[in-house]
């Protein structure tokens, strides 16, 4: 399936192969097939497909993945620019 690409080279996704145990949960939860199995460990397959949802980092039991996730809509970014903390979008 051809993936829609947003902007290139912006993702904050990081994967530390030394901590990875190869459990595979990150592949199970990623909604964009960003990760793949490589030599019995997880590896990043397509960085630019990452939407920074945080599912992989949240579910990694050993903390091998990190990503800066947050409410990713323009309204939320504007609200945080204006200093409004309480209502990101809805």
């Amino acid at each position: 399936m051809k993936a829609a690409i947003y902007l290139k080279n912006v993702t904050t996704l990081q994967l530390n192969p030394e901590l990875c145990t190869g459990c595979g949960i990150c592949l199970d939860v990623c909604p964009h097939a960003v990760l793949e199995y490589n030599h019995r460990k997880a590896a990043i397959r397509d960085r630019d497909a990452c939407m920074e949802c945080g599912a992989c980092s949240r579910n990694c039991p050993v903390g091998a993945i990190s990503v800066e996730s947050g409410v990713g809509c323009a309204a939320a970014v504007i609200n945080s620019m204006l200093g409004r903390q309480n209502s990101p979008c809805c």
């Binding site: 949960i25 920074e52 323009a74």
Partner: protein, 384 residues
Amino acid sequence: MFPVSREGMLTGHDAHKKEMVMLNVLPDFMPPMDAPVILPGQSQPFVMGLLQTEIGAVPVITSELSRIDCWGSFKARWGVGRMHYAVDPGLYALGGPDAKSPVFVSANYKMSFDHLRRSLRGRDGWILVLDTVGINVWCAAGKGTFGTGELVRRIFLAGLDRVVSHRTLILPQLSAPGVAAHRVRQYSGFKVIYGPIRADDLPVFLDNGMKATPEMKQLTFTMTERAVLIPIELVEALRAAALIVPFFAIIGGFLGHRTFSESALQNGMVAAGALLTAVISGAVLTPLFLPFVPGRAFSLKGFVIGCPFSLFFLTAVDFPSRLSTVAWFVIMTSLSAFLAMNFTGASTYTSLSGVRKEMRWSLPLEIAGGSIGILLWLAAFWIH
């Protein structure tokens, strides 16, 4: 948040909870050991009956959606009542489940709940609804309300551990940003299985022994999926535009070269037409034809679509001065770009870092464009 009683032995059936209390590792989202089970309201309109269980009367629901259910979803898509479209959290019985039946977890946004039960036609199961404050799975997961804490808390508050003999939960894949499966197991003893993204794929998933195909696990953004998101964006944009039109009418009335009412009407109608065209460009056409519009940034796509449609509109109107034409062109394309940029929040593939990067250059341009456009519009009253 919930005080935990650590002294006194627990009698009862949940050895896991007991063990955790004794190990002093209960996190603060766990309800107290003696907290009563909270059952969902029986008078909710979609409750068909009651199933008597060890924890009391569990509401029974069907997988058939009524006309009221469908109308409610339709209204929500158009922005009517969607912030108060919720079901009670807690445990529901679908069909005739028993202690071995599977458990599906849902947000308490009614549309999420309806999608889930509709997909399980002819099957028996339990549906555990979390209190996500009436918000859908994806947004709630992002905010943490469809999260580890609420899931664990709800398992015990809803009495699920006392109703099923197994310890497995099936969660929607898109709840994963909020749920740490290994922590859910640690705190509740329940294992999380992430199912498909779309509830409609659940029957095949279940029949294949809880195995998902790659297609079930990946997000798409088809034209249909984009189209159903348009009404809410359109309604909100039109509401804002409707507030702006009177300003153009009144100021145009004063500054115009005819009588107040003639100028006000003329300027008001042009403003309404121009803003409507810009709204359609940025909030309808750009989302609808998203992948076909040049540019990766959504605001650029909105500008690209905004240009020809603004020109179509402007050639149809007889403007007194060329300056007004330019003014409206700048206002319309800036508005179209801004509205398209807002669609990033509804898309399934934009990232926060990408949105920030896009907004860094596009928001100042949109604001500048709108401001310059308005200044030119004002100037046009003096310059012919």
